[in-house]
Amino acid sequence: MGIFDRFKKEKKLTIAACTSGAVVKMEDIPDPAFSQGILGFACGIEPKYGKIFAPVDGIVTQLSETLHAIGLETAEGVEILIHIGVDTIDMQGDGFSAMAEIGDTVKCGQMLITMELDKIRAAGHPTVVVTAVTNSDDFVGVTLTADETAEVGAPLIDVMR
């Protein structure tokens, strides 16, 4: 690896897919808070199964009591919010289980949350899982790198410092 490659590597953080399924572009997420960028750069994955894995190495900084959203922060200061489904806060945690808690150090690929997709559908909510870089304004560029489908652990978003 040359000096230039190393420089490039240090300037870029790759966020992996936290689950597997069809990729939903930011503007197509059926929740205006995300599609309008209010919560930072975002993209969705229409999950094939009800499991969420850490998309980066980091610390759990936020976990809602209703377990439908979890926040992580990386050593580089990138803040990532994973939000499961739309308006699923209404479900008050029913169908969701968390395998991590606030303050935990997690490794990319570690399981964080399981959710029952059937229960989310039965409650009348879209199941799309959103990965948002809530402080994307603080970085030079944040881009979606995945194509039409994402596999858990494969690159999803690049953050350039």
Binding site: A33, T61, S64, G71, E79, H83, I89, N135
Partner: protein
């Protein structure tokens, strides 16, 4: 410094959507700092993830503190946001 207390009426509290809107509002005033206090914890309203980590629920009382060049104007805008959204 301007400060006011507000009791949250929204049944869902300050969850992702209102937190995002509030952080955006706070960020729009670079010369003025908006802070929220719940119990012993105080966070800057512009820091979305920290704001969400306060887990503010219906019935919680928060103290909003505004400091800076345009504190009177910003305090009014923030109070208006709380009344309309929370």
């Amino acid at each position: 410094m301007q400060t006011f207390k507000y009791k949250i009426n929204d049944p869902l509290g300050i969850h992702a959507r209102p937190a995002g809107l509030l952080a955006k509002l706070a960020k729009a005033y670079a010369d003025t700092t908006v802070s929220l206090t719940k119990g012993e914890n105080t966070v800057k309203a512009s820091q979305l993830m920290k704001l969400m980590s306060l887990a503010i629920k219906q019935g919680d009382e928060v103290t909003v503190t505004v400091e800076g060049e345009r504190e009177a104007e910003v305090a009014e805008a923030v109070l208006d946001f709380f009344e309309k959204n929370l």
